[in-house]
Symmetry: C2
Subunit: 639 residues, 2 copies
């Protein structure tokens, strides 16, 4: 296959072309998936008053739940940060208190009732539907809301005919698992030909679960060079270089690219639209499917570059202009606005550039609501969505009805009954009532709706942005070891005249994250006193420091860069020099403290000159590794 | 591999042997699965007051749910049926009203709070844990309860050292999908060698989702003969015959057997312990892993054989004896009782015979609570459970926290606080308080606990058993067409002396289901007037009758046996002669009615002598198949 054979030939007319046919990328298994045989009887389900003995469903009366309920936050609970920090005074970094109290006054009580009398399946939200067997694409009222949000507000893109479709998943890990099912034929060394080995392109540092998901399938990860702005398109080690010079004796030329473009995990980079355009063009040229995983898309930090410069005493960079940031064309559709200033201000994902239909975007409710939702969605061209529906049927069937019901109730609010109709006597009264009811519906509507959803995300961005600033300020303050050496003049009793030497040793270097939940630090171990010690190599020092930091009085636990290294080569070469620090998980009051303790711990470690201290730390950990209880935690999630 | 090579060599001593090593059955992919790299930092999680910057978890404050709540049934809501109908008068078939009203008085309100102060992870049930990233084996309090129920009450088996383990799944479909992941290497015709093609042994009729799940992986289904008592072990077409005479040119000798033994879907058979022992011995001999799917295990109908005989005017069979039914040895462990008469009365599953550790049992909350739970569990030997945990990590991670939290609260009840301790002044008062608190805890305990859970299942069995009896009585009443033909004597005006011929035509034949949710009817199409018509074959008649039944005034929809045929050979030969009727899904008052309407519809169809009526029915359906809306339902679940 020549590189250009899958490039779209644009039709001359103005009508949008259909998305590309990507069936040649399907796995053998997913090619063979067919809809369930029960389809044969669907056509009869709608017959009025039919007694349905065909489906093997338990009766709703026998569900032991009569309602599902919850106390929920109002969408205004948290204070946003500015979309354009240059335009007005940034909110103080300590002002993360909720706009309104988080007590009962600010919470709403939601109820999913057992039955709602409603013919429209998009409006019927009750236990009769949501706790019953459902549809593989997702619970209709929720799927419909998600689809509308994606198509009208999030990326509002229709770059190909019909625009993208949406299917619900059990979260982004499940979504990626289903991407493997759809796009990857399992490969085993010695059994399958080397030139059929599937490959996934990615950054050198990657969300580690992706590795443990894909590697057992025989996938090889192929790293593309990055710079401070993210994955590099051209030049040596860039995307084009790798694809153009692919050696088939090392496997099949990768047909998949995995990335997190908006708040990269672990590096915190937000990939610009300009860089995305370059990368997309190369993927289009070499027929690569882009799988973008965007759990942090709404966590973009416009103040990061400004606050970073201030913290470091550097010139304040040019501030973002409102116009530049509203990607009205060609990344977003005819409408120049999503309808929400917050959404307009965000860098869009690859979906906004996807003229070919080669982007598969994974979303999740894990970070916007809670990881326990196990709920997310995939956005892609409709033919791919249909295959994901077949995969859902054969694996998870559907996300939890408990989750779907409560999230639907959260965003859509209670059902609007029209029972009072019977009391309306004449046409005049009926129209008056219709007007009244419309007003009432509006007033009574207690679901978040899309505006509430966007407001909730703005509030979360505010909180996480303030956390990021707080942690980075503390890290900046502790990033340098200042050593003062006094050289006494032996012949002079007056210490006033002693020579004072101040040595400045930078301990780590990093960019403030532009998005996401992580600070990615490169530790400068070459300045450590034991750097050249014959018994200690770099990775040993890095591991020892990680353990050292968990000891009193520092008591901070950081993630090692080795965990996020896409290949053993990356891990060996410089993966060990990095630490990932998450500013999301700890209590808010601990964020600054943890940054301070980290800095203090690192400084103290740079005072360690005795190699036995290192040996002792590592031997203690080796002992602990054998302890019972560790294996109990072996399956702990959340990274 | 010779047949006997995997047979267990029993040690002479009394100590139970370890389960067999089944790693030779693992798929290449699942062999390669390794625990997540984040394990490297688990050991530090327990350090007191450590600030954890390693995990990428969102903070619980930012979950928009402050509680999860529900109105739940009390376990006594439904009336049980007798475990031994011969011992006392069976409950009237119409008495399915709840023991107590289903109104608020009989319901409890459960709450999962945001935080519970509790150090024991098995007792801490709050949103802080259940909505956070969790553990791949399942939510600890729920997993622990399920494990205890399985090990102490359900099968209470320890036939091999340590006994079976348990892992939670997102329901039985997810469970079977993970069995494919663990035991099946994907196979493609023309790519992989024929003698490596994976095979699954099963009954000729099978839950259809299993086919659509496994066939895309290249699996071939190999049917084993059945009789009225279920799968046949010996004789032509029996399990041993198939395995002993396996022809490798047709694929790899099957190493998996899939079955539903307790209320088979679709046939309604409960496989006896005696038959299970025969089949198990053969599986042991030929090293076959048994995957048993038991969604209906608690829906066993002891009255079925008696009521069937009564309904048909046959001799009442010997009634089950209490002693015979308490499988105390060797199927269950040292304890002769589960602690619950209901559980003791049930036929056990293959797990109760599993000396080798070759049984993988799939359970689900879909029929005991609701399909929308998407929650179930797998019971198997610990080494297999460990692999399922690795598969969970790479796919679904964990079941929904919303489901896990609410089910845990349902069965375990609210957290028992011990806050009042501070008010206790002296030792004497403390002991008095301790006694008091024990009493209070008991009184205040509003969770179902295991006794409530068993009581709930008994009530469900009662309801479904009464439904079954009601439908089968109606079906029996309508199973025969009685035609009266009067032959007048032309020479005699006195009609009193006309010859009356009564023709009795049986329309269908079936056994009353001994368990589950389905009646499996064999339609006797050979007695239909159009049976020998050159333009109509059997399958056409069967399809036409299915459509005919959906028309007024019959309005019943039945499942065709073609849907449940394990192979096209089965479907062609006689799959088309069967219908499956589910007595679970319709409203209770419709159950008898639907049986009546079915009988009436079939009788009326037997009056159809014009082939154009058949043609018209089928052409109408063909038209409807093109209609919009059908595709919308394409992914409908629940079979």
């Amino acid at each position: 296959m020549t590189p250009d054979s899958h490039r779209r030939v644009r039709p001359a007319g103005t009508e949008k072309p259909a998305p590309l046919d990507l069936t040649h990328h399907y796995s053998a298994v997913t090619k063979r998936r067919v809809p369930s045989k029960i389809k044969e009887v669907y056509k009869f389900f709608g017959i009025p008053n039919i007694l349905n003995l065909a489906g093997g469903l338990p009766h709703v009366d026998y569900f032991p739940f009569d309602t599902l309920e919850a106390q929920t936050a109002k969408p205004e609970r948290w204070t946003p940060t500015p979309n354009y920090p240059g335009e007005k005074t940034a909110v103080s970094s300590s002002s993360s208190s909720p706009t309104s109290s988080s007590g009962p006054a600010s919470a709403a009580h939601i109820v999913v009732p057992k039955f709602v009398k409603e013919d429209d399946p998009l409006k019927k939200v009750d236990l009769d539907t949501v706790l019953q067997y459902g549809l593989a694409p997702g619970y209709p009222p929720l799927l419909s809301w998600v689809r509308q949000f994606v198509r009208e507000n999030l990326e509002h893109t229709t770059l190909y005919k019909g625009g993208p479709g949406v299917v619900l998943t059990c979260g982004a890990t499940d979504g990626f698992s289903k991407c493997l099912d759809l796009f990857v034929d399992q490969w085993t060394e010695g059994v399958n030909a080397v030139n059929t080995r599937p490959g996934i392109l990615c950054e050198p540092y990657i969300y580690n679960s992706i590795l443990s998901q894909a590697e057992p399938h025989g996938v090889q990860f192929v790293t593309v060079n990055t710079d401070v702005a993210g994955m590099v398109a051209t030049g040596p080690g860039g995307l084009e270089d790798i694809l153009a010079n692919w050696d088939p004796s090392k496997g099949k030329r990768p047909h998949l690219l995995y990335t997190v473009t908006l708040g990269h995990n672990p590096t915190g980079v937000v990939l610009s639209v300009e860089r995305k355009k370059e990368l997309y063009a190369i993927c289009s040229k070499y027929d690569v499917v882009i799988i973008e995983d965007e759990p942090y898309w709404y966590l973009q930090f416009p103040s990061a570059s400004i606050e970073e410069a201030k913290s470091r005493g550097l010139p304040i960079p040019q501030q973002r202009q409102r116009q530049q940031s509203s990607y009205s064309s060609p990344f977003k559709s005819t409408s120049s606005s999503s309808g929400y200033a917050f959404l307009d201000s965000l860098t869009p994902s690859f979906i906004a550039l996807d003229t070919d239909g080669r982007v598969v975007r994974l979303d999740t409710f894990s970070k916007t609501v809670a990881p326990g939702c196990r709920l997310g969605w995939i956005t892609a061209q409709p033919a791919l969505i249909e295959r994901f529906e077949r995969i859902n049927e054969s694996t998870t069937q559907q996300p939890s009805g408990f989750t779907q019901g409560l999230i639907t109730e959260l965003v859509l609010g209670p059902h609007q009954t029209s029972n009072s109709k019977a009391t309306i006597k004449n046409q005049q009264a009926r129209s008056a009532f219709a007007r009244l009811r419309t007003t009432r519906d509006r007033a009574a509507f207690s679901g978040w709706d899309t505006s509430g959803w966007v407001r909730w995300l703005e509030g979360l961005r505010g909180n996480y942005e303030r956390r990021m600033v707080r942690m980075c300020r503390a890290l900046d303050a502790g990033s340098t070891l200042i050593t003062t050496t006094t050289t006494s003049d032996d012949n002079d009793g007056d210490s006033e005249w002693d020579a004072v030497t101040v040595t400045t040793t930078p301990l780590y270097t990093y960019s403030w994250p532009r998005g996401g939940m992580f600070v990615w630090l490169r530790m400068l171990f070459h300045s450590h006193p034991l750097w050249n010690h014959p018994a200690v190599d770099g990775p040993t020092l890095a591991r020892a420091l990680q353990v050292w930091l968990t000891r009193k009085p520092f008591l901070v636990l950081v993630g090692s860069g080795t965990m996020f290294s896409a290949t053993t080569k990356v891990e060996r070469e410089e993966g060990w020099t990095f630490y990932r620090l998450c500013f999301a998980a700890e209590a808010e009051d601990n964020i600054g403290l943890s940054g301070e303790r980290f800095g203090e711990g690192v400084k103290a470690f740079w005072e360690v000159k005795d190699v036995d201290v290192i040996r002792k730390l590592l031997s203690e950990v080796a002992l602990e590794e054998d302890e019972e209880g560790v294996s109990q935690l072996a399956s702990y999630m959340g990274c």
